[in-house]
Assembly symmetry: C2
Homo-oligomer: 360 residues x 2
């Protein structure tokens, strides 16, 4: 499996996904500014992956700080936090990762600065390793919803490239394949940045999982023909009530699923669930440069000066979501709030998953 | 208004729409083979426009035929008919135009061959002139559904470029503007061939009608925000029961409209209504080369060898259609069959439009 991001010799090495599938090239970031640039410019993207990048960016920023006590060290970290937090607004994983490192520092403020610097590197790497384990757990919980012979539609890329590895939305597909189920995947190309065409199709082909590429506007026609059995997508931020922010077009896909009686699943690591907000209305939606719509691979495909709306994400209300698949089980959106973490971290989850398959 | 197609000095001159908006260039077709190539390669597209092109192609093909009696002349026209009819399967206008010329010839078989040749040219030009008048009538019937301040969404291009002029779906918008209503248009970019981005945005900007370009997958998010009041699209073939074949993504847009309580109108000249088929199931749906999806402006945007489904059209069941706007009035899809033409042409329509606004 391709490595999306890793810490190598005191630097952060990331696959430049903006060049896929035409070229497989890597960027080595020597400072946090470069990591922030990578997140903004979509060299790395996908909620879990940019969470990892955020943590590594902070760890990288910390290494160069010269400070002889905790207060000065922490103060010097503020511009690093700000730069990383201001990269992209919608995915909660950036905030989640930065907060995790802040909490780590606060709990270890008695340690020496060199020790704290190493601790940040360790924690960033731990987030990466945990992420893969979390995805595998999502895969095990999610595979129950995929039957032998099913065709799964997915939108954007919530695959290994969007994560430390294995993927969120792709994890149930990978586990289903490991279980010997014969499945097919339909990848929405996902305009404007074409993550489905460039990334999902590429990584599934590499892994030998049969994938068919379609334009986003073809999904309904295939559903009507009975060619799609279920949908699984990722999420950039899911609210406490189960409203799901994800790549633009997800809401549309969910409506089409409802209209055709097709179950619609969201693969959501707990790090992407924002228990602090009651509903999707509170999720900030990034609007990106219109040039992403008017130009493809540098070629202009629309008139000079045309007005563009380029919403990068949309919010799918919980009522369209069959189940949210987390590393702790698959839950009806209305039960999601029961998973709410205490302040001390993920281990304090008190709710138990009752059974494996409560949703059609 | 730009001229999509015209008969000039014994040749057919068409705007090469595949190069828009980057370049405005024309192709001069000296024979019917070139006209057929133009239809296949989308130099000219849009159901009414390719109906006109089909008629001009047949007229052009007829000019070179050496025959001294009607039977030989008509027999020599067969390969011309076949070449034109086999260009694209979904739009009924090609068949409609060819049949119109065939009927004309049959009714005038006593005339001399030179006279028949001129008659074909006259008839092709008449189809062009009539088309513009028909569109203006559609505009007058359709404008009643657009209120001052409304934002209209449209898909693909059913504008002046898709017709002899004025457009079908754009006609109500143009009339609304002429009536002094302040309106805005949202143009779906319409993957894969991007007719919305390249053509609709271009022609509306040229005409000073405010237009905003979006990716196809953004429509639902804007509807949820209350930013869209109604949809008007064109059609390539509408069945007797009101099922509407149109550019891929139309069905999706119709479902999204239903889900958000937004009226969904189809602008359909009678030439695009196929009274010979009972429902949309009988409409042949063209599947085009996957390269339209994997390559944009010659640049590859998907992995080598990826499997693609490229349905060029979809069928929107009549139940999603608020009204079908023809040159004879706007009708509920279930009343459409009452418009059925007799064999003698359009003048025999006996149904009267009862009132201007029977649908929300």
């Amino acid at each position: 499996m391709v490595k999306t991001i890793e810490w190598v010799n005191g630097k952060v090495r990331m696959l430049d996904q903006s060049r896929l599938p035409v070229s497989v090239s890597y960027v080595t970031c020597k400072d946090y500014i470069k990591v922030a640039e990578g997140i903004k410019k979509l060299w790395i993207r996908g909620a879990p992956a940019i969470g990892i990048a955020a943590a590594m960016g902070v760890a990288l920023g910390a290494q160069k700080i010269k400070a002889n006590n905790f207060e000065r060290f922490y103060k010097a970290l503020q511009p690093v936090f700000s730069a990383i937090l201001s990269t992209r607004p919608t995915a909660v994983n950036i905030e989640w990762a930065v907060n995790r490192l802040k909490n780590l520092l606060m709990s270890n403020r008695n340690l020496s600065i060199p020790k704290l610097k190493s601790l940040l590197i360790e924690e960033a790497n731990k987030i990466l390793v945990e992420d893969i384990e979390i995805n595998k757990a999502i895969g095990r919980w999610g595979a129950q919803f995929i039957k032998d012979g099913d065709t799964v539609i997915t939108h954007c890329n919530a695959g290994s490239l969007a994560t430390g590895g294995y993927g969120t939305a792709t994890a149930p597909m990978r586990v289903a394949v490991e279980q010997g189920k014969k499945i097919k995947v339909i990848a929405d190309e996902t305009r404007p940045v074409l993550q489905g065409a460039r990334l999902t199709a590429w990584e599934l082909m590499k892994d030998g999982i049969p994938v068919t590429l379609i334009t986003d506007n073809s999904a309904a026609a295939l559903m009507k023909r009975g060619e799609i059995n279920l949908a699984i997508v990722g999420t950039d931020r899911t609210a406490r009530n189960g409203d799901v922010a994800n790549k633009i077009g997800t809401y549309s896909l969910a409506i089409l699923c409802k209209e055709h009686g097709i179950p619609f699943y969201v693969a959501a690591p707990l790090s992407s669930i924002d228990f602090s907000i009651p509903s999707g209305e509170f999720i900030p939606i990034e609007e990106r440069n219109g040039k992403e719509v008017t130009h493809i691979s540098g070629c202009r495909i629309a008139p000079h000066g045309v007005k563009v709306r380029n919403l990068a994400f949309d919010v799918t209300p919980a009522k369209y979501v069959t189940a949210i698949i987390t590393e702790k089980g698959a839950f009806s959106p209305k039960d999601l709030h029961k998973l709410q973490r205490s302040n001390t971290g993920l281990n304090s989850i008190r709710i138990k998953q009752k059974g494996p398959c409560r949703w059609k």
